[in-house]
Symmetry: C2
Subunit: 457 residues, 2 copies
């Protein structure tokens, strides 16, 4: 007899082809209760968010054994599957045989009571066994696949941009350095200083000029000493780059990707997403529906500033009410534009060049760049993108000012060897996962979070 | 008129539904030749390994312009698609309009002549535009997707294990450390020393005890000062872990994964794989067929040693002919076992415990551990796996000997909180890509290779 998986049993049940046969299962005890005559174990085998109910006869030798299984124990069970129409669960397993595979020490921290997320962060190796984190990391996995499948279907080439890089430019002091324990730790291994990447974008652009459509999806790092629910020092980023593509094309890809991910996760994580909507964020379903059912709007930064000024004049209270053209918008401003004005996702485009990165394409007005930030209700910015400066002279001048023209000579090369208009964007994977699940803290969305002052495991 | 993609044109042609309509294309000139009366451009638009032939009338204003397009230039072309039965290419585009989008400076290094891989390594930002590297990085992308799709279909949960870790144990001196430029660079950011991960296995195991079947797939690092074609200091690893799974189950997953990847890459990279078979490794197709068509064999390490001893006695010449039980096998020994003995892929199992890692399950003989290395013809070992020690006392003793029982107390926890038999393996992604394409040097399989003494880009 082949062992069964709980996810298959539920799939068979939903397709109306679950039969009342003998099966064998392995899994972990979530709860165990008995009244002497009859006992019930909620067993989770890891393959499904849902448990399966095991029923045992309390008055038997078997019941005497099973009664002592503790929460968290690994067990095997053989028995007869019974459909239970009318009961809370659609079927259950009537135990015939069972073995204790792995017992649980008395100090097992995941007892029945509810635990705070803060407490669970201290036991990152055990929290995937709880409902919330079990749901969360399965969604994380499915979301990663949603992203890969989106780009694969569209013929994008996935590029593994390097983690260790010579480029420490963008973050000036916000990058980690990579050393060995040696006399000259900084130059011992590579003969030159090495940093952990803060973005794969510059390294993925050369591949767009070979494959047209490419993306990178991997870990990135920031040595930023911020202790907020949105900052981690290690996080995953998705960074696509499309050749022969302007800002409009860029925004089309962003909108399609976001919607694809929501649909894909909902289709493959029904139980998990229902759990988040019920227990973590009661407005989640509605929030995601609103994104799915709207055509993302477009607003220029300049229009946005005018609207915000008018809002202040009309008495709207911002923590920072000093609105002027050229400012960096705060989250409260972004949320006002997407929630009160656009009433849905909105791209804010054409930002002042002074507040954006050197590689963004200057618009004909000479003052703004072809950048887009996607703002979404209840969150603010979740994607930042731009068309890239493709005019060699303009880019060189900006890079000389930024002091990276020499170190990034290869990047400049792309503008003198068959350059073309190209665009791309960055989507922070962990923040996006938080957005999709309603989880408030990036420390929870990452299996082993690394933040300022915190490194466990 | 929507712009066309070359890959779509070939797909339509193969499905017999390519029509002779007007289309527009963008792409890069691979070659351009004319005889005054008629000109031909081989255009690659990045979406296909195959070029499309553009034909222009030399005697026209258009021809006068197109004649001057240089190799590497980005151009746009509008024209009429013509089927060309009997010609080397199945169809071509008769140009009607064209624009130069991005010119090429005179020092463009990718002129028509053939370049050595060594030379191309110096221009990693341009080499994806050459046939070999264009094929290679597309296969790399498709192979990554093959791996994700294999595990997704089987319900495995993909876990992003951390890059920055407290664990520098396994490699003793072979791990990079992560610092910031500060007074106390080693402890400034995290308050504790931080290393780059050498393996995600220990961090993924806790997730197997929550989800049953999981895997990690991400960058790993070794500060090993080896300058060989097989060593890189940064490389990607696939590390699955399965709960309620012994060594036999482990080997089943390995065999299924390897075969799935070969089939998937062949199905999605027909042109590229044909190119590798023709120009890079003439025996490639045959080599991969042999893997696909064989049932992987199993041989114990002890049997392997006996066979090698006999081979030496029978006069077989090894560089290292000193064969004894307890030795670490060299590549030449592994290749003898898979090529001359098994004549196909073979799992070598049950290694002496002294030469294997602390976490491997001790066999009842007390001398060997339940480990498996997959050996394949023409390469040697490509996968290493094992069942994990699940007995708390045994593992603790080994870890205390290895000196990591304290730092890895969380890892030991897994054996006291609902432990079970579980197994996993590691597959080096870059080496596997080299194996599948016949490329000999790991420096070529990585977009931006990082090796001892070498860090560019």
């Amino acid at each position: 007899m082949q062992d069964s998986l709980v996810k298959d049993l539920y799939a068979q049940y939903e397709e109306g082809r679950l039969s009342e046969t003998e099966i064998a299962l392995e899994g972990w005890v979530r709860t165990n209760r008995d009244n002497g005559k009859i006992g019930f174990i909620e067993l989770n085998d890891g393959t499904s968010f849902k448990n399966i109910q095991i029923v045992y006869d309390g008055d038997s030798v078997l019941g005497e054994k099973m009664r002592h299984y503790k929460t968290g124990a690994a067990i095997s069970v053989k028995g007869n599957l019974k459909l239970t129409p009318g009961a809370p669960q659609p079927f259950e397993l009537k135990a015939v045989e069972s073995e204790l595979i792995g017992d649980v020490d008395a100090d097992y921290p995941l007892q029945k009571k509810r635990h705070s997320f803060e407490f669970l962060r201290e036991i990152a190796h055990l929290r995937p066994r709880t409902n919330t984190f079990n749901a969360l990391y399965r969604v994380r996995s499915v979301l990663a696949y949603a992203i890969h499948s989106f780009f694969f279907e569209k013929g994008f080439v996935y590029v593994h941009t390097p983690e260790i890089t010579t480029n420490d430019a963008e973050g000036a002091g916000q990058s980690f350095e990579v050393v060995t324990r040696a006399k000259d730790p900084y130059k011992d291994f590579y003969g030159t200083t090495a940093s952990l990447t803060v973005s794969g974008q510059l390294h993925v652009e050369p591949f767009a000029l070979a494959y047209r459509n490419v993306y990178t999806f991997g870990p990135t790092f920031r040595a930023e000493k911020s202790n907020t629910p949105r900052h981690a020092s290690e996080f995953w980023m998705i960074e696509p780059e499309m050749a022969f593509c302007d800002l409009k094309g860029d925004m089309e890809v962003i909108e399609a990707l976001i919607k694809h991910c929501i649909r894909f996760v909902r289709a493959h994580c029904k139980d998990e997403m229902a759990f988040f909507n019920q227990f973590v964020d009661k407005g989640l379903d509605e929030k995601l529906d609103r994104v799915l059912n709207s055509d993302f709007k477009v607003m220029t930064y300049t229009e946005g500033i005018e609207i915000l000024k008018k809002a202040v004049a009309d008495g709207h209270k911002f923590d920072n009410p000093n609105i002027y053209w050229g400012m960096d918008l705060q989250s409260e401003h972004e949320r006002y534009l997407t929630e009160a004005v656009a009433k849905g996702p909105v791209f804010l485009i054409d930002y002042p060049k002074e507040i954006k990165a050197f590689y963004m394409k200057e618009n004909p007005d000479g003052k703004t760049v072809a950048a887009c930030d996607l703002l979404v209700p209840l969150e603010g910015e979740i994607v930042g993108g731009s068309q890239r400066e493709d005019i060699y002279g303009k880019l060189k001048e900006k890079m000389e000012k930024a002091g990276n023209a020499e170190g990034l000579a290869w990047y400049l090369d792309l503008r003198r060897y068959g350059g073309c208009s190209h665009s791309g964007f960055g989507l922070g994977f962990d923040r996006f996962l938080a957005y999709l699940t309603g989880m408030a803290n990036i420390r929870d969305t990452e299996p082993y979070p690394r933040t300022y002052g915190n490194l466990k495991y």
